[in-house]
């Protein structure tokens, strides 16, 4: 996402913008399947959702894109009845197993949504969501 810099006078190094709108998709096909895109800082190990140019922990630019965990647990949720053309839509925060939090559309299937249930990433083309894991539901019973 960063571009090469050029020197414009003896002491000034040109700074260029980050092309952060170039690829707006939050999921990408990695070698082991479709995953949410994340960034890990090589210097401090901090991780974050999305492709970043700089680490928000230590301000290092020494960062790399990583696939994020596909499973996690639901922290909280709502069913939204505004927007979306009037169609109601479950939306929640998922704490992924690698520690990153992501806001996601939810699909509960036949299960009731509630905090702390295990959820799993699913996708179809560009669309992605988290679904309640049936096994987790079984274990809860």
């Amino acid at each position: 996402m960063t571009s090469p810099s050029a020197r414009v006078s003896d002491s000034v190094e040109m700074v260029v913008p980050d092309a952060d709108l170039r690829d707006g998709s939050m999921i990408r096909d990695f070698s082991h399947g479709t995953r949410l895109v994340g960034t890990r800082c090589i210097d401090c190990g901090g991780s974050a959702l999305g492709e970043r140019s700089v680490c928000s922990t230590c301000v290092s630019r020494n960062v790399q894109v990583i696939p994020l965990a596909t499973t996690g647990k639901l922290y909280s949720f709502t069913v939204l009845h505004v927007g979306n053309g009037g169609e109601s839509r479950p939306l929640g925060y998922v704490d992924l197993d690698d520690g990153v939090r992501v806001l996601s559309t939810l699909r509960a299937g036949s299960h009731a949504l509630r905090p702390e249930v295990r959820v799993e990433l699913a996708s179809d083309g560009d669309e992605w969501w988290f679904a309640v894991m049936p096994a987790a539901v079984e274990n809860e019973r």
Binding site: V16, L21, R61
Partner: protein
């Protein structure tokens, strides 16, 4: 700062984070050194400063978004300067950022609530009427208006941060597309995207951090004063008053300046502002221009960066970018466009088309090399 251009692949965050990181690095600052953030922008939407700062984990401090149209970035600097001058804080980060490509071209969107905007007012029309009247009252000609653009592009050709980096001619400027008579396209600043960041600090913090820099000798922010009846459009009172106050604060006169970055959003503005900033008597601005007194080798270099006409004018970013130019010039880092032995610099931006006012805001800063 980043080069001004049509950065279609960059968001407000993408535009501002790289110069923010670079500014902290150049100043050798840790996040914990920063007491406050002031961010000028007009079209970034809610919490633009916070969206930028969180990307580097900069938070837990006063962080303010400032819209003052084209004066937004310089207004942010003024607020930072004031907080430091009052002893409230020691170190502030000032961000100016704007992304005009989001509008897909055309004139700047103004408030639809304004009664003149409802009548079809746009910024080129404001300046075009100023130009019509100025040409009527003085010896200036449309060729002089074109000559302003020629000078701007000559300077811009030396500046790798400028959008327009080729020289032009009076004939080419006059032959370009009509925008608002007598202004042609090349007499209007190009719209683009940009971001610039400066760090402002107290003398105490500067000594503690053992940094070099330039001194803020004056920082003035004015709003416009309404006139319901007659207004002399060739004498924008907001700039006259702001400049007068700035010179008094800095203890210098116009003749002491080595360089100026002024608000040449449209070429007529440069002539009007020579007079408002005290470089020339009313109606005599063209003498300076024609005699080359405001280019390299002249009495005072006006817009060594190329100004808004060549560098581009991402509204909220421009006021801070002018200060970056002043910083580079006063610290001898301006490369091919270096003004020889520059000691005093003035930056000036006005902002906004608002019925009844010259402009909504005007900011003037004076800097001294140290």
């Amino acid at each position: 700062m980043i080069p001004f251009a049509k950065h279609r692949e960059s968001s407000y965050v993408g535009l501002a984070v790289p110069p923010l990181v670079a500014a902290l690095r150049d100043a050798g600052l840790a996040k914990s050194d920063i007491d406050a953030v002031y961010c000028g922008h007009s079209y970034g939407g809610m919490m633009t400063a916070q969206r930028i700062c969180k990307e580097i984990g900069l938070g837990g401090i006063p962080t303010v978004n400032i819209d003052n149209a084209c004066s937004g970035g310089a207004s942010a600097l003024h607020q930072a300067w004031e907080a430091i001058a009052l002893g409230q804080i020691d170190v502030a980060v000032v961000i100016g950022v704007e992304k005009l490509t989001q509008f897909g071209g055309g004139t700047l969107p103004l408030s639809p609530e304004d009664r003149e905007v409802k009548q079809g007012m746009v910024m080129p029309a404001v300046y075009a009427m100023r130009a019509t009247r100025y040409l009527y009252e003085t010896e200036a000609t449309v060729e002089d208006l074109a000559l302003v653009s020629v000078k701007a592009r000559k300077h811009g050709a030396l500046n790798p941060y400028a959008m327009m980096r080729t020289e032009t001619t009076v004939e080419e400027v006059l032959a370009s597309r009509a925008v608002a008579d007598p202004l042609t396209l090349m007499m209007c600043c190009p719209t683009g995207d940009g971001a610039a960041v400066v760090v402002v600090m107290s003398e105490r913090a500067k000594a503690r951090l053992e940094l070099e820099g330039i001194r803020v000798a004056a920082s003035v922010l004015h709003s416009g004063q309404v006139a319901e009846g007659f207004r002399d459009m060739t004498k924008p009172e907001i700039t006259y008053e702001s400049a007068r106050e700035a010179y008094a604060m800095a203890g210098i006169e116009a003749k002491d300046l080595d360089m100026i970055e002024l608000h040449d959003a449209f070429s007529i503005a440069e002539l009007v502002y020579y007079e408002a900033l005290g470089l020339a008597e009313k109606g005599r601005a063209v003498d300076l221009l024609r005699d080359g007194e405001t280019t390299f080798g002249g009495r005072v270099v006006v817009n060594p960066s190329g100004g808004l006409l060549a560098k581009g004018h991402p509204v909220g970013a421009s006021g801070v970018a002018q200060v970056v130019e002043a910083f580079w010039q006063l610290t001898g880092q301006a490369g091919a466009r270096q003004v020889d032995d520059a000691k005093w610099a003035l930056t000036h931006v006005t902002g906004g088309g608002t019925a009844g006012l010259d402009h909504g805001a005007c900011t003037v800063h004076i800097f001294e090399a140290v």
